[in-house]
C-alpha cells in the first residue's frame, strides 16, 4: 500500500512542475506585470523604464520563471495588487470560509447520497426507487446557479428563513455562541443548495453496485448458508457496494474544498471561489494563479486520498 502512495506522490512532483509552467505561461499572457499597482501613475516614463530594468522585466522568460518558482517555493506567491497584502495571507482567511461551507455541503451530500443510494438499490424497481431516480434527474437537470436563484427567491426573500448572503450578521462578537450560530445560519442555504445537487453521483454508483451484488454468486452462497436477508445486506452486499463510494470520497473532498464558484457567487459567500472571480474581474493575476495551483494540488491530493481509502478498505489492493 505504501508503495502506491509513494508512487502517487512521486508522480505529483512532475505534474505540479508542468502545471506551474502552464500557469506561468498563462500568467505571461495576462496584461500588466510585476510593476502594475506598485508605482504611482505620475512617475516619468524614463523612471518607469529604469524600474522595469531593475525589476528584470526584460529578462528572458526562463529567468523570470526561475525567479517565480523560487519565490513560490519560499511561500511568496506574489502580492495581491488589489488588496496590497501577500497572496497567501489573502487566500488564508478565505480558505476557512470555504472549508466550513464545503464540510457542511459534503455532510449533506453524503447523508442524502448514501441513504437514497441504499434505499433505491435495495428496493430496485419499486416506486420509492422510481421517486429517487426522478429526484436524481431533477438534480442533474438543475444547474446550481438556477437552484441558487430559486432558493434565495423563496427561502430568503419570500419566507425570510435564511439571509441572502455573507457569512455572519454585522456586529457579532467572534467566539460567542450567537456568532457561531449566525455563521451556521449563513452557511445553511448555500450548503443545502450544493448538498441537494451533488449526491447524484453517490446515489447512482451505490445503487448500481447494490443491484449488481444482489445477484452475485457469493450472495447466493450466503443465502445457501441460511444467513437471514438483513445480515446478507449488511455483511455482504453493502460492504462490497461501499467500496467505490468510499473511493469517490477522496475526489469529492477535493472538489468541494475547491469551493463551488457558482454557489459562492450567488450567495455572495466570501470563499475561495468568490475570491477567484473577483481577482479575475480585478485583473489581480497573482491571486488567480495561486488559486489555480492550489486547486490543482488539491485535486491530486483528492486522488491520493481515494487511493489510500481504496487500499485500506479493499484487501485485494492491500495484499498483492
Amino acid at each position: 500500500m505504501w508503495k502506491t502512495i509513494l508512487r502517487r506522490l512521486l508522480v505529483l512532483i512532475p505534474q505540479v512542475a508542468v502545471l506551474s509552467l502552464l500557469v506561468f505561461i498563462l500568467a505571461s499572457f495576462m496584461p500588466g506585470d510585476a510593476l502594475t499597482g506598485k508605482i504611482d501613475p505620475n512617475v516619468s516614463p524614463e523612471r518607469l523604464e529604469e524600474l522595469r530594468e531593475k525589476w528584470g522585466f526584460y529578462d528572458p522568460w526562463y529567468v523570470k520563471y526561475g525567479r517565480w518558482v523560487t519565490d513560490a517555493l519560499s511561500g511568496d506567491l506574489g502580492e495581491s495588487t488589489s488588496y496590497k497584502i501577500p497572496v497567501t495571507e489573502l487566500i488564508g482567511n478565505r480558505a476557512a470560509n470555504t472549508f466550513w461551507l464545503s464540510l457542511l455541503t459534503l455532510g449533506i451530500t453524503y447523508i442524502i447520497g448514501v441513504s437514497f443510494g441504499v434505499i433505491s438499490g435495495r428496493f430496485n424497481g419499486k416506486p420509492v426507487d422510481k421517486a429517487i431516480s426522478f429526484y436524481t434527474f431533477l438534480a442533474l437537470a438543475m444547474p446550481s446557479i438556477v437552484l441558487g436563484v430559486i432558493n434565495i427567491y423563496f427561502f430568503s426573500l419570500k419566507l425570510n428563513w435564511f439571509p441572502m448572503g455573507g457569512t455572519v450578521n454585522v456586529g457579532m462578537q467572534p467566539g460567542t455562541l450567537s456568532y457561531f450560530l449566525s455563521r451556521i445560519h449563513h452557511m445553511l442555504l448555500p450548503a443545502i443548495t450544493g448538498g441537494v445537487l451533488y449526491p447524484v453521483g453517490v446515489i447512482q454508483i451505490l445503487k448500481s453496485e447494490i443491484v449488481d451484488y444482489k445477484i452475485s454468486d457469493f450472495v447466493m452462497t450466503a443465502r445457501s448458508k441460511g444467513v437471514p436477508e438483513k445480515t446478507i445486506y449488511t455483511r455482504h452486499i453493502l460492504r462490497n457496494a461501499f467500496l467505490p463510494t468510499a473511493a469517490n470520497l477522496g475526489y469529492d473532498i477535493a472538489f468541494l474544498l475547491g469551493g463551488s464558484i457558482f454557489i459562492e457567487r450567488i450567495f455572495s459567500y466570501p470563499g475561495m471561489g468568490n475570491l477567484f472571480l473577483d481577482s479575475i474581474l480585478r485583473r489581480d493575476y497573482a491571486v488567480v494563479n495561486a488559486l489555480i495551483i492550489l486547486f490543482a494540488v488539491l485535486t491530486v491530493l483528492g486522488t491520493l486520498i481515494s487511493d489510500i481509502i481504496m487500499s485500506a478498505v479493499d484487501p485485494r489492493i492491500r495484499i498483492k
Binding site: 445477484i215 454468486d217 447466493m220 452462497t221 448458508k225 441460511g226 444467513v227 460492504r239 484487501p315
Partner: protein
C-alpha cells in the same frame, strides 16, 4: 439394505418468466435421494439440472421464477416454508457447493469468517469453539496450513484451495444432504481429481447424501451411485450407475455415451453426432417425446403420445417407449 430416504422431489416444475410468459425449465421431475448415497444429475446445457438444484433451497429470484410441486426433506415439504423457516435448513441440514470458486466467496471477508458465518446461525458456539471448529474443517478439506488460510482472503488462494474452502463452508454444520452444482467444472483436471476424491472421502465419513450436478460423464462414472439423465427439463433415464453406463436404454443416453471422444475410438473413426439442436426454452415442443425430433429415422409409432416411465428392471426407469427397438443411425 434399504437406505432411508433423505430427499424426495415430487413432480417439480420450475419455470422462468420471459416477456411475461412462464416457461418450465424443470418440467415435472420426480426423484429421491437416500442417505449415504451420491446421486448424480447429468445433462447438457439448458437441460434444467442447475435450476433443479437451486429449487431445493428456493435460491431462485422469486420475482422471475415460479417453483411448483413438492420437495420433501425427511418428510417436511420445503416449498411450503417461508424464508425464516427455510433458513433453519439452509446450511444446517442441506449444504451447497457452487461452480465458480472465484465469485462464490465474498472478496472482502476472510475465509475463516465466511466459514464461521454458518456456524453462527446454526450452532450454539462461542468465539473460541467456532474458530477451533473452522480450523478443524479447513484441515478436513485438505488445506495445508489451516491457521494461515483462516485469516487469508479469497484472492490469495488458488482455484483448488478456494473450492476446498467452499466445501468446508458447505460441511460446516455436518449437513445430512449436500448439493454440489458442477463443483469441478471450473478447475483443471488434476485439481478436479483431488476435489472429487476429497468429496468421496468426506461423503463416506459423514454418511451424507450428495446431489452432484454435472455435464461430465466421466465425473458421473467416478462418483455416482445413482444417476438421472436430464434432457429439455425432464429426466429421461434414471437408475444405478452400473446399469446406466453398462446398459443405457434411452436414445439420448446412448447417443451421449457414443459422443464421448477418446474412449475407444482410434484416431480414424467418427464420433456419433446427435442431429438437430437442443430446443430453446421458449420454442420447445412440450408434447410427446421431446427427443423424437433429434432421432428422425425412428418411426413416429415408436414414441408414446404421453410418455411414461417404464421400469426396465429394479430402479432403472426409462421415459417413452422409443427405447425398445431404438438403434443408432446406420447400425439398424
Amino acid at each position: 439394505m434399504e437406505k432411508n430416504e433423505l430427499l424426495r422431489i415430487d413432480n417439480l416444475i420450475t419455470s422462468f418468466r420471459i416477456d411475461g410468459q412462464h416457461y418450465a425449465a424443470v418440467d415435472g421431475v420426480s426423484l429421491s435421494v437416500s442417505e449415504n448415497e451420491v446421486f448424480a444429475i447429468v445433462g447438457e446445457s439448458g437441460c434444467g439440472k442447475s435450476a433443479l438444484a437451486l429449487s431445493v433451497l428456493s435460491l431462485h429470484n422469486s420475482t422471475y421464477t415460479k417453483v411448483e410441486g413438492n420437495i420433501y426433506f425427511k418428510g417436511t415439504d420445503l416449498l411450503t416454508m417461508n424464508v425464516d423457516e427455510l433458513n433453519q435448513f439452509r446450511g444446517k441440514d442441506i449444504g451447497m457447493i457452487f461452480q465458480d470458486p472465484l465469485t462464490a466467496l465474498n472478496p472482502l471477508m476472510k475465509i475463516g469468517e465466511q466459514i464461521e458465518e454458518s456456524l453462527t446461525f446454526h450452532m450454539k458456539m462461542d468465539k473460541k469453539q467456532k474458530k477451533a471448529r473452522t480450523i478443524e474443517l479447513l484441515e478436513g478439506v485438505g488445506i495445508v496450513s489451516p491457521e494461515l488460510t483462516y485469516s487469508q482472503f479469497p484472492h490469495e488462494l488458488s482455484g483448488g484451495m478456494r473450492q476446498r474452502a467452499m466445501i468446508a463452508i458447505a460441511l460446516a454444520c455436518k449437513p445430512s444432504l449436500v448439493i454440489a452444482d458442477e463443483p469441478t467444472t471450473a478447475l483443471d483436471v488434476t485439481i478436479q481429481a483431488q476435489i472429487l476424491d476429497l468429496l468421496k472421502k468426506l461423503q463416506k465419513e459423514m454418511k451424507s447424501g450428495i446431489i452432484l450436478i454435472t455435464h461430465d460423464l466421466g465425473v458421473v462414472a467416478e462418483m455416482a451411485d445413482k444417476v438421472a439423465v436430464m434432457y429439455a427439463g425432464q429426466v429421461v433415464e434414471t437408475g444405478a450407475v452400473g446399469a446406466i453406463f453398462k446398459n443405457p436404454l434411452h436414445p439420448y443416453t446412448r447417443s451421449l455415451l457414443a459422443s464421448v471422444p477418446g474412449v475407444d475410438s482410434a484416431e480414424g473413426n467418427r464420433l456419433h453426432v446427435i442431429e438437430g439442436m437442443v430446443p430453446s426454452l421458449k420454442n420447445m415442443e412440450r408434447e410427446g417425446c421431446r427427443f423424437a425430433p433429434r432421432i428422425p429415422w425412428v418411426d413416429k409409432s415408436e414414441h408414446e403420445e404421453h410418455p411414461e416411465y417404464h421400469e426396465v428392471d429394479k430402479g432403472h426407469f426409462v421415459l417413452c417407449s422409443c427405447y425398445k427397438n431404438f438403434s443408432m443411425r446406420g447400425e439398424g
